[in-house]
Homo-oligomer: 496 residues x 2
């Protein structure tokens, strides 16, 4: 879920200064239009890792916008008055009126997260708090509110570096109380429970935006632009927005560096390396599937990727290791008539493996947020809600003991071009290339955005995405097999 926020986004000074001038002007204008229309309030929630720039960002927003129209609340210590009333009262009394903006810093999410991290509450109490938060936000959005939820993220490594830098800076070393965060257990817990909260409360009408906190310029511009675009879209909707889905779950990354760009596509294996490693991993898989601990599990592998990225070949290398009775391949094409008469996920549920079975999905339920999104086969409201429906779905699988492994096979545009041309020239491969493949290629950038969003919103601790560098087919096939094996072993270890 935090993948895209660990790749070291950054914006150079010149770009930043140029963009900020425009952004500030546009933000102010939107703010005055919000006040003029006075049709709905804006609520901005600030959450995430300590030390990732939450405080600085709030300060900046106050500088950029008209502070008379913004109120900032941090909800640190409840007052006596607040303590003598139900806990929700403090939030209610601070709600901004229509036409105004509130920044809630240390809000309902901070409270439940700290309680869980400290061990004051257990998972089921956390889930109850999550549910209450969701109801509250749903009500607010039904009443017209526009809610932005920002999660500031740093990888553990990034956090360490940041703290080291702080130490050296005498003017800011007082902030080192944040050093608590270095205690790796706290960081890990915070990220783990944070992910649970984000997974369950990211809704089309109030999605979480995850922001990488390392580069101040990148961070600030991202927040500013997200607010601006969301606000402008809401101001343009003339009818009162009732639980309006946000225009897009994520703004395209500002530095044009998406998750896919961060892959090292030059990774490759020699023929000899390939031969040895493939044989090793295939033997490992065969053993792991025959292991008696597999009786308590089943395995679901999802293969997605660019056209011509080598999904078919990778799947074949997996199944080569196995007895045909041990696996089942489900190729996903256009839905049948029967499937169209059912809710979207129905056609995947019907193929769910029983215990001790292995099902391979050649393309999958992610079609909704990939091809259906890009081609406009379904309205935005449908693919926007799909992220959380898919997370719910995979959670149900994993809770039952199914091991879910998801692959995105990534190649670059040149490699795809070469493979397309090759397919056209080799008679027995010609059936693999169609006009549609060339058309999809024209939408390369849109797919890049869609894949980035997909991974950010559905790569979870319980069912993570694995990005496969697939320019070299040998490297890709071995990495796929190894990932499957590692996932099975991890599941067996947890059984103990």
């Amino acid at each position: 879920m935090f993948e895209s926020a660990e790749i070291g986004h950054s914006i150079d000074k010149e770009t930043y200064e140029r963009e900020v001038t425009e952004l500030r002007e546009a933000l102010l204008e939107a703010q005055y239009e919000l006040k003029r229309q006075a049709r709905f309030p804006v609520i901005i929630l600030i959450n995430g890792i300590e030390g990732a720039g939450k405080g600085e960002t709030v300060k900046l927003l106050n500088e950029w916008m008209d502070p008379r129209l913004i109120q900032v609340d941090s909800f640190l210590w409840p007052t006596d008055e607040e303590l003598s009333r139900p806990p929700q009262w403090r939030f209610w009394r601070r709600l901004p009126p229509k036409g105004r903006t509130a920044i809630f810093f240390g809000n309902w999410y901070s409270q439940m997260l700290h309680a869980r991290v400290n061990g004051d509450i257990k998972d089921s109490r956390l889930d109850v708090a999550i549910d209450a938060a969701e109801r509250f936000e749903r009500m607010l959005c039904d009443e017209g509110a526009l809610i932005f939820k920002f999660w500031f993220h740093l990888s553990k490594k990034q956090l360490k570096e940041r703290l080291k830098a702080l130490e050296k800076d005498p003017q800011r070393s007082w902030q080192l109380s944040e050093i608590d965060w270095l205690q790796s257990e706290v960081y890990d817990k915070f990220v783990r429970y944070g992910e649970r909260v984000l997974r369950r409360t990211s809704r089309d009408y109030a999605p979480w935006y995850i922001v990488e906190g390392v580069d101040e310029r990148y961070r600030s511009l991202t927040i500013g632009r997200t607010i601006l675009e969301g606000l402008q879209a809401a101001l343009d909707v003339k009818d009162r927005p009732r639980r309006q889905p946000h225009a897009a779950p994520l703004v395209a990354s500002l530095d044009n560096r998406g998750l896919l760009d961060s892959l090292d596509l030059s990774l490759a294996l020699s023929k000899d390396q390939y031969k040895t490693q493939l044989a090793q991993e295939q033997a490992r898989l065969a053993t792991l599937i025959r292991d008696k601990r597999f009786r308590q599990h089943s395995l679901v592998a999802v293969f997605e990727g660019n056209d011509a990225a080598g999904k078919g070949g990778a799947i074949r290398r997996v199944t080569d290791a196995l007895d045909p009775r041990q696996y089942h391949i489900v190729p996903i094409a256009a839905p049948t008539e029967e499937e169209r008469a059912q809710p979207y996920l129905w056609r995947f549920w019907r193929h769910m493996p029983a215990r001790r079975q292995f099902t391979i999905f050649d393309r999958s339920w992610y079609g909704r947020v990939l091809v259906e999104r890009v081609e406009g086969f379904c309205p935005p409201a449908d693919w926007l809600r799909a992220y959380s429906e898919i997370n719910d779905f995979e959670e149900q699988l994993v809770e039952f003991g199914i091991v879910v492994v998801k692959f995105w096979l990534a190649i670059d545009k040149d490699t795809q071009y070469q493979r397309f041309k090759e397919r056209e020239s080799i008679p027995f491969k010609r059936y693999k290339i169609t006009e549609e493949d060339w058309r999809n290629r024209d939408k390369w950038d849109q797919y890049v955005d869609a894949v980035g969003d997909m991974v950010d919103r559905t790569s979870t601790e319980i069912a993570p995405w694995t990005l496969i560098e697939a320019n070299d087919k040998r490297f890709a096939r071995v990495k796929v097999l190894r990932t499957l094996n590692d996932a099975l072993e991890a599941a067996y270890r947890k059984d103990k």
Copy 2:
């Protein structure tokens, strides 16, 4: 929550036979139209008390409608195939396709309820299951499904009588396995947890319909008519219904006997009785409010009722007992400008008492489902969602220790007429009667429906409604005071 389903509804044979003929024809027609449009599926959930006619009703629906287009599933014992997959799989595989109807008997609600009643799970696990059910239904409705949820109810007394009757009937005495239900603990638990489930999962797009199970004819007609009206409304919406709110939360009671009709408005106190009892109850209240246990609580009293039902007088008799520093009266009129700029419940939250305070609301948050509904001041989607928002709200109050007491002061139409006339003729009372009061009176029947729905949907174990027979002012005032006192004592008892 079950109030309206314990008043002994019944339909005579002649009416029944006349209505059934029409109903069956219309149901068949709607069913064929559903098949022809094939735009959405219909899912009917059957839950509630054993012995309240669930099985008979399902049998009847199958008789009335075309059984080729209905599938009935009872989900009693999972098969081996089902046990080897995630628990949700069994429901997914049974979902009806667009154009068809499924009746789910023993569904996800039965499972969570039985687990809770048997003590297999605790409240927080129940809440997690409730939340999962809500997500599942939301997804289904987002995908277009039309869901009806029926809860069959019998009061404990009704259940006992029904079982006695069964015992005497040799042909049906085999059904006496239901006698388990007589064990009062099981019944009580089932109703208590059932209420929790209903309160949290009744949503405008998938509300619960509570059906009194005593009279077979009443029960059957109610179910049939609810399905027919809901189905017809959905078939008429030309756009694909996406989480469409149901047309009305409840059909008006078929035998024209609502909850309010079941009140005995002849209840009265003589002057002497009044004097004695009023003094007693006032003294009791004064003591209870001064009790040191009140420090852990606060008290919220809501007064609603017909115009001229005597709310003001009743409130005065309450406050007469107290020091003015001990209470606060909040009269609710049209919202101020500041209040209109906030979510609906904001103007009530702002008046929530701190611990050891007592706040009296003269009219309240129920305005949304009363005057705003009847006068059309807000669209149906808004007042429909208000029921669950209000339940959430009151739950937050009660969880904090606030004692919430809600009164509906009921008079009959003649009494109201006399009081209006009296007010017009007495100079110092003339200000209390306006044109608007006369206009409201014209909508008497609509208010009766609205009050019935309100009580059914928001009278909960934690914050029940008390209906006050108010034709006799003396009786009403004493009953109000006594109810307040009883509620405080009950709260103190629970503290231990």
